[in-house]
């Protein structure tokens, strides 16, 4: 699991590469929390174009990051989820909480 973070004015974009499951969850959590702490005045965009797989473990990780960002008074967005990942999001209704952008 790799994460590349790009910071541009008041937005950080985190690009996730690989598979997000229970095994990789801890690493994703730590890396995203580092970025959130470092750029606490920025909104976070998760670009999932290169996330090839995610199961329900990913839902918990993303909701946890969302709560953290809200505490800083900022927002989080999801982008470019593939069909499989989108299907897991749809089951959970996560898009009622975290906004999807293009």
């Amino acid at each position: 699991m790799q994460i590349h973070v790009k910071h541009q004015s008041d937005i950080i974009t985190a690009y996730l590469f690989g598979e997000l499951d229970h095994h990789s969850a801890e690493e994703v959590k730590t890396k995203l929390d580092d970025a959130i702490r470092k750029y606490s005045d920025a909104n976070l965009v998760l670009d999932l174009k290169n996330l090839s797989f995610m199961d329900s473990s990913g839902l918990g990780v993303l909701l946890g990051r969302y709560k953290k960002i809200k505490m800083y008074g900022k927002n989080m967005y999801i982008k470019n989820a593939n069909k499989q990942v989108e299907k897991v999001f749809d089951v959970s209704g996560i898009y009622k909480i975290i906004k999807k952008i293009k």
Binding site: D21, H22, K29, Q84, V91
Partner: protein, 144 residues
């Protein structure tokens, strides 16, 4: 299409086996010539069941996980079995967002994902004996 095939896989409840387990069942399922989406559905459901065995069935130990996959006509059946702590209240466990774990990555959506991605999910569990999750899915017949 070959009519019948069955395989059995035994694994340890190590988290690095989650991706291995779903790949194996996904690779076996290709013999039914499923769509990419059907393969993804099967892999996701297997990932949920195997993760549950790793996280919940054996919270403090490394135990055995047994996976049996059976192809018959255009149907795949996958059984994921553990010999761990078991589930006390299966009805409750099936509820969306219900989870007994305080691990943040447990959203309580595992069984809901399995039920959505597969046609049928049967849970059989005995406290202190273990849990068996049996899932079934029909694969669409594709023409060449």
């Amino acid at each position: 299409m070959k009519s019948k095939n069955i395989m059995e896989l035994r694994l340890l409840s190590l988290s690095q086996n989650e991706s291995f387990a779903r790949s194996v069942v996904g690779a076996f399922a290709t013999q039914l010539n499923p769509t990419l989406e059907e393969i993804s559905d099967i892999k996701t459901a297997v990932s949920e069941a195997v993760t549950n065995a790793i996280v919940h069935a054996y919270p403090d130990t490394i135990g055995d996980i047994r996976i049996v996959a059976e192809l018959s006509g255009n149907i795949i059946r996958v059984k994921v079995q553990d010999f761990g702590v078991g589930i006390r209240d299966i009805q409750q466990a099936r509820q969306p967002f219900f989870s007994t774990a305080n691990d943040e990555s447990r959203s309580g959506m595992g069984f809901t994902v399995m039920e959505t991605f597969m046609d049928e999910v049967i849970i059989d569990s005995t406290p202190a004996k273990g849990t068996t999750v049996e899932m079934k899915k029909s694969i669409s017949k594709q023409d060449y």
